[in-house]
C-alpha cells in the first residue's frame, strides 16, 4: 500500500437490512481512524406513546415497533403485564405462545438467510439476482418463510402485527382442523430445514475467530425462546428483573439507537450467542443434524451466525410439531387478569436476540412508564468492534470496493433491525 493512502468509505444507505443505516469509515496510513455505524432511522418515541395505554392496546402497539418480529414484542410485553399483575401461568397458553413464536423464528430467519445474507456469500447484489443460479435454494427458503408465516397466522390471523394475542393468552384457540392441516406440512419441512442447515454450513464463509461475550436466555430444559434467566459466556446468571443492574446504555452522536454494554464491554445477542450458550438444550435430532455439519459450537467465528439461524429454523419446526401434535383447544384461551399498580418485567429471545421490557402500571392497569431494550441496540457496539477486527484481518490494503463489500457483509451478518433499534430508551449513562 502506498504511504499515506487515505480511504473514505461511506455507504449512505445500507441495503438488505431492516431499516435505515449508514456506514462511515476512514482509513489513514493503514489504520482505521474512524468507524461509525450510524443508525439514522428517525425515532418514533414508542416508550412515550405507550403511556396511558391499557394491556390490549399495549400488546397491539408494541407490535408496530417492528414488522419482522411483532410476536417477540407482543410476547415480552405479555410477560411483563402478567408479571406486574401477579397472574397465574397457564400451561396451554405457554405452549401455544411458544408455538406462535416458533413461526416468527422460522419466517424471520428464512427471510434473513435467503433474501438478506446469502447473496453476500455467493457474490450477488440481491436474492432476486441469485434466482437464476440458485432457484431451488431460493424456493426452499421462500417456502420455509411462508410456512413460518402460516404458523403465525394460526394464532394471529396475519403474520405482520398479528391480532390474536390477548392479555393473558389468546383471543381464540386455533381451529383443530387448521392445526391438523398444517401439522403434516411442518413435519415435511423438517427434511427441508435439515438440507438448509447443510447448505448454510457449506457456504464459503470467511474464517476468522474473534473474542466476544455471548448473552442469551437460558432455561432449565428448553432451548431458550420464550423464557429463562439471562446468562453470559462470562458467567453472568441473573433474573430478568435484574437486567438494569448489569447492563447500561449510552448514546453516541452518530446514531439514533442507543448502545448497550455489559460491565463496560460490548456483547453479542442473537442466534450465535444463543447457540453458543445453549447447545446442550437442543433436542437430539437437531443436535445430530448440527453435528453432521462438522462445525464445532460454541464458535468464535461470527459468520457462523447464518448456520446458527438454520439450526434454529430446524429447532423451531421440531418444537412446533411437538407442541401441536396432540392439539386440543382448551375451554379458556386466556388467564384472567386483575390489574394492579406495579412494575412488571418480560424478556424473550426475538429472532435477533434478547428483547427486554419493563413497564410500570397504574391501579387500572394502564402503562405509566415503559422501557424496551431491543436486540439491535445491544449488538451495535459489537458490530462496530467486529468491523474493525474483520477489516483489519481482511487486509486494509484491499481496494475501496472490496473493503466496502466486506464491511457490508459484516454488518448484515448480524441481521440488524434498525427499525427496532431506534425507538427507544431511557438513558442511564452517556459517554462520547
Amino acid at each position: 500500500m502506498p504511504e499515506g493512502r487515505r480511504v473514505e468509505i461511506s455507504v449512505p444507505a445500507l441495503a438488505r437490512v431492516e431499516g435505515e443505516g449508514a456506514l462511515a469509515l476512514r482509513i489513514q496510513n493503514d489504520r482505521i481512524e474512524h468507524l461509525a455505524l450510524s443508525i439514522f432511522e428517525p425515532p418514533r418515541y414508542f416508550e412515550k406513546l405507550l403511556e396511558g395505554r391499557d394491556p390490549q392496546q399495549l400488546i397491539d402497539a408494541v407490535a408496530r415497533i417492528c414488522g419482522i418480529c411483532p410476536a417477540a414484542y407482543q410476547m415480552s410485553a405479555s410477560q411483563a403485564i402478567e408479571d406486574a399483575f401477579g397472574a397465574e401461568q397457564d400451561g396451554w397458553v405457554r405452549a401455544m405462545r411458544r408455538a406462535f413464536y416458533c413461526g416468527e423464528w422460522i419466517q424471520s430467519h428464512a427471510l434473513h438467510i435467503h433474501l438478506l445474507a446469502a447473496p453476500d456469500f455467493l457474490g450477488y447484489e440481491s436474492a432476486l439476482a441469485m434466482a437464476a443460479e440458485y432457484p431451488d435454494a431460493l424456493r426452499r427458503g421462500l417456502q420455509l418463510q411462508g410456512l413460518g408465516n402460516e404458523l403465525m397466522r394460526l394464532f394471529g390471523a396475519r403474520s405482520v402485527h398479528p391480532i390474536g394475542v390477548a392479555p393473558g393468552g389468546f383471543h381464540r384457540a386455533p381451529d383443530p382442523q387448521a392445526v391438523s392441516a398444517l401439522l403434516p406440512r411442518l413435519e415435511a419441512a423438517l427434511a427441508e430445514a435439515e438440507a438448509l442447515l447443510a447448505w448454510t454450513a457449506a457456504l464459503p464463509l470467511p474464517q476468522q475467530a474473534q473474542d466476544f461475550v455471548s448473552v442469551a436466555l437460558r432455561h432449565p430444559e428448553e432451548y431458550p425462546l420464550y423464557s429463562g434467566r439471562i446468562v453470559s459466556s462470562e458467567g453472568l446468571d441473573i433474573a430478568v428483573s435484574e437486567y438494569e443492574m448489569h447492563f447500561e446504555e449510552y448514546q453516541r452522536p452518530h446514531s439514533t439507537a442507543l448502545f448497550s454494554r455489559l460491565q463496560g464491554r460490548d456483547y453479542l445477542v442473537g442466534p450465535l450467542a444463543r447457540l453458543n450458550l445453549n447447545q446442550d438444550r437442543l433436542p437430539s435430532p437437531v443436535a445430530e443434524a448440527l453435528a453432521r455439519t462438522g462445525i464445532a459450537f460454541p464458535s468464535r467465528n461470527m459468520f457462523h451466525s447464518i448456520v446458527a439461524r438454520a439450526v434454529e429454523i430446524l429447532l423451531a419446526l421440531h418444537e412446533a410439531v411437538r407442541l401441536l401434535r396432540d392439539y386440543h383447544p382448551p375451554k379458556v384461551t386466556a388467564v384472567s387478569l386483575t390489574p394492579r399498580a406495579g412494575v412488571g418485567y418480560g424478556a424473550t429471545e426475538a429472532p435477533r436476540g434478547l428483547l427486554w421490557h419493563r413497564y410500570r402500571f397504574d391501579e387500572a392497569g394502564r402503562v405509566q412508564e415503559a422501557r424496551i431494550v431491543p436486540p439491535t441496540s445491544q449488538n451495535q457496539a459489537r458490530i462496530e468492534r467486529d468491523l474493525r477486527e474483520s477489516l483489519e484481518s481482511f487486509g486494509l490494503a484491499h481496494d475501496d470496493e472490496a473493503l466496502r463489500l466486506r464491511a457490508e457483509m459484516v454488518i448484515r451478518n448480524y441481521d440488524p433491525c434498525i427499525s427496532c433499534a431506534t425507538h427507544f430508551l431511557r438513558l442511564r449513562t452517556e459517554r462520547r
Partner: protein, 259 residues
C-alpha cells in the same frame, strides 16, 4: 418500480417480501430498481411506480419525499404511516415531540426530528393510498396489476362492519358488548378481528363517511369512560379525520370531568 422507506416498522414492505414465489414472478413482470431491504439501491432512478412506506418525520425525509415525487410517475403510499402518519403521529396531538425526545435521549440535540410525524399527502401529491397497518399482499398486487393494465387502481373504502356482515359473523359490538371500531374503519383486512372474536381497533383507518360521533356515544353506552373512548380513536390513525376530532373531543371531555 421502486420501494422507498421513511419512518416506519418495515411491516408494509413485507407485503412484498412475504409473497414467496410470487415475488420471483413479480420480478419478471416489473423491473425493481430501488428496494433497499431487498437489495436494489438506486433511489434517484426515474420510475413508473413508487411505493412509499413510512411517515415524514425529519427534515431529511421532507426533502427526500419531494425528490421521490419528482422522478416517479405514479406515487402510491403503503400503510398507515405513509397514509395517515401512523402510530407515531400520536406525538402531533400535544406537540409533544420535544418533551418526548428529552425524556428518551440524554443528548436530544443529536436527534434530527420534526415536531410532527405526517402523512406523505401533506408534503407531495399522492396518486393512490393503500390503507392498513400493515397493508396486505392482495392490496399491493392489485395496485400493480391495475397499473400494468393501464387502469387506475381503486380502493374499496367501505367499512369493516360490512365485510363482517358479509361473512355472516356474530357482531362483537352488539352481542359481546365490546367497543368495536368496525363501524367506522376502512375495509381491506377481511374483518380479521371480529373473526377472532375481538373488537376491531381501527388499524385500516377511517372508512368513507364514518359516523364517529355516533360510535363514540355507543361506546359511552357500553360504559366506557371518556378517556377510554378517546384512546380508541387516538391510536393507530390519530392524525386522520374524523378519528382525530372525535378522539380529542372526548379527551377534552375527560379533562373537563377531572377539573
Amino acid at each position: 418500480m421502486a420501494v422507498h422507506k421513511f419512518s416506519s416498522c418495515d411491516g408494509c414492505q413485507l407485503a412484498l417480501l412475504n409473497l414467496g414465489e410470487s415475488l420471483l414472478a413479480l420480478q419478471e413482470a416489473v423491473e425493481i430498481v430501488h428496494f433497499l431491504e431487498a437489495g436494489p439501491s438506486d433511489p434517484e432512478a426515474p420510475v413508473d411506480i413508487a411505493f412509499v412506506e413510512g411517515s415524514i418525520s425529519t427534515a431529511e425525509e421532507a426533502e427526500r419525499i419531494a425528490r421521490v415525487r419528482e422522478h416517479s410517475r405514479y406515487l402510491v403510499t403503503i400503510g398507515a404511516c405513509a397514509t395517515s402518519g401512523g402510530l407515531q403521529a400520536l406525538r402531533n396531538l400535544d406537540r409533544s415531540e420535544r418533551a418526548w425526545r428529552e425524556a428518551i435521549y440524554a443528548r436530544p440535540e443529536f436527534i434530527d426530528s420534526l415536531d410532527q410525524a405526517t402523512p406523505v399527502r401533506e408534503h407531495v401529491a399522492v396518486d393512490l393510498e393503500l390503507w392498513g397497518c400493515p397493508i396486505n399482499g392482495r392490496q399491493i398486487l392489485g395496485a400493480i396489476a391495475s397499473l400494468l393494465h393501464g387502469v387506475p387502481p381503486i380502493e374499496d373504502a367501505d367499512k369493516v362492519c360490512l365485510e363482517c356482515k358479509r361473512q355472516g359473523r356474530v357482531c362483537t359490538l352488539v352481542t359481546r358488548g365490546v367497543p368495536c371500531m368496525g363501524p367506522v374503519t376502512h375495509t381491506g383486512c377481511g374483518a380479521l378481528c371480529p373473526a377472532f372474536g375481538r373488537d376491531c381497533y381501527g388499524c385500516y383507518g377511517p372508512a368513507e363517511n364514518p359516523n364517529g360521533d355516533a360510535l363514540a356515544r355507543r361506546f359511552e353506552g357500553l360504559g366506557l369512560l371518556p378517556e377510554a373512548i378517546a384512546r380508541h380513536f387516538l391510536f393507530i390513525h390519530s392524525h386522520a379525520e374524523p378519528f382525530r376530532t372525535v378522539g380529542t373531543a372526548w379527551r377534552a371531555q375527560r379533562e373537563k370531568d377531572d377539573a
